[in-house]
């Protein structure tokens, strides 16, 4: 069972290591260790496999908490949970029995490998062929960004279905670290999200065919029903937590002795600048909670109103959370907003949140939104 104490322990570790991990652009291994030891890594593993049996609400709540201290940690956690939920729902009996108890025991942290050069970020395509011979699947692919790739114990990898005749025939394959040869192909020096250490990698190896998740060629359905919805919910929670944490630090500062000298509560400008981020966060929070309810209540998530809602969650959470922190910087001023040494950490938070609109591009989702709008002339609201 995941208790408040477990979460508090992981948050404490995240807070302790956030600044250094950002400075070094290195994965916070101590925080991952805390996730392993507290059982948080197994939050979304069904109880029958020894996990926390968490719901999407539990996932969002835990991710928001982590985001309040370090957005990189929150994204690492949310993406791991996305892989776990997908395995729990679609993996073969054999794979579930092998991997899920190990995740619950804190032994397996899973990284996601879906990026490829040259496909414009499309999740539903792969240019990487796979070969199947005598029940063994051969993997050999480049991956330009693998969050936590150097530290993961298992990987969920998108590949072309063996014998595919088009790049839209895609499989999701689980591979344990010992089944792969991993080569780092470059450094990781980004603007923000530095502690995700999302290095470029070359991944090769062989796995038995029962490690394909779901029926061959069905990744699109998996993506529609679970992989993308859980990603959007997890990311939105990470961004919301990040902005909420920054907002809380600013307000606590404003109420401190030093802050009272800086912020005059009788100033209408100060009051307006304090109010606006809150409204943004409440909107994202409401959207997140509603999206979770809709996902829980729908059998088929492919309908246009549901797809639109899930995309809107991702797009608006990315934009509103970034804007909220951008406003907080103006409110806090140069010293507490812009300087890296400020305990309010607004500068790091802003850099981290700049990635949100790019982390599965808002533009790509808006394009899909135009098509979805034409599929829904009644404008049914999910």
């Amino acid at each position: 069972m995941i208790t408040e104490d477990c979460l508090a322990e992981v948050c404490q570790a995240a807070e302790k290591h956030a600044r250094q991990a950002d400075l070094d652009a290195r994965f916070p291994e101590a925080v991952l260790d805390a996730m392993r030891q507290t059982g948080l890594l197994g939050l979304m593993v069904p109880a029958e496999f020894g996990g926390g049996g968490g719901t999407l609400t539990d996932l969002a709540d835990a991710t928001i908490r982590l985001g309040r201290v370090d957005m990189s940690v929150a994204m690492i956690f949310a993406m791991h949970c996305q892989q776990v939920v997908t395995l729990a729902k679609y993996a073969s009996e054999q794979l579930r029995a092998q991997v899920l108890p190990a995740i619950a025991a804190g032994q397996v942290y899973i990284a996601s490998v879906t990026t490829e050069a040259g496909k414009g970020g499309s999740l539903l395509m792969s240019e990487s062929p796979s070969e199947l011979a005598d029940g063994t699947l051969r993997i050999d692919r480049e991956a330009p960004m693998v969050t936590g790739g150097l530290h993961a114990d298992g990987f969920l990898i998108t590949m072309q279905t063996p014998g595919a005749t088009s790049p839209t025939q895609v499989d999701l394959v689980y591979a344990a670290r010992h089944q792969l040869t991993l080569e780092t192909r470059g450094d990781w020096q980004p603007l923000g999200m530095r502690a995700t250490e999302s290095v470029p990698m070359h991944i090769s190896g062989q796995v038995p065919d029962w490690q394909v998740v779901g029926e061959p060629g069905t990744f699109r359905a998996i993506a529609t029903q679970v992989f993308a919805p859980v990603a959007h919910i997890g990311w939105a929670a990470a961004w919301l937590g990040t902005a909420a944490g920054a907002y809380s630090r600013v307000i606590k500062h404003a109420r401190s002795d030093a802050g009272r000298r800086q912020f005059d509560p009788s100033s209408q400008l100060v009051l307006l600048r304090l109010a606006s981020p809150r409204a943004r966060l409440d909107v994202v929070h409401a959207l997140l909670k509603h999206a979770i309810c809709v996902v829980h209540g729908q059998q088929d998530l492919s309908a246009a109103p549901v797809q639109t809602l899930l995309n809107t969650l991702k797009i608006r959470a990315a934009d509103e959370c970034f804007e909220a922190v951008s406003e907080l910087l103006l409110l806090a001023g140069l010293r507490h907003g812009y300087l890296t040494q400020s305990p309010l950490c607004l500068e790091r938070t802003l850099r981290d949140l700049r990635s949100a609109a790019l982390n599965y591009s808002n533009d790509r989702l808006l394009l899909a939104g135009g098509s979805l709008a034409l599929m829904d002339s009644e404008v049914r609201l999910a």
């Binding site: 539903l124 595919a164 005749t165 088009s166 839209t168 025939q169 060629g217 699109r220 359905a221 529609t224 088929d300 492919s302 309908a303 246009a304 394009l367 899909a368 098509s371 979805l372 034409l374 599929m375 829904d376 002339s377 009644e378 049914r380």
Partner: protein, 84 residues
Amino acid sequence: MNAEFVALLRPYLKYAGDQEISADAKLRDLGLDSLRAIELLFAVEDAFDVVIPDEQLTDATFETPGSLWTVIEKLSAPSLDGCA
């Protein structure tokens, strides 16, 4: 599926090449993405004089030529029977 329908499909399926388009082929595998699905929808509605209701515009309808053809047939059935 009639020949007119199959001929109408082909320009939207960039990976179909010259191969025969069977009723159970996966349209997504043949290259139908969400943007092209809208263009196909408009073409189908024009060619067969039907309007596919919103609730039937799902992944299941656009899964195969057969699934799309079934929807078109059902919508055009009354007029074919002279009951429209």
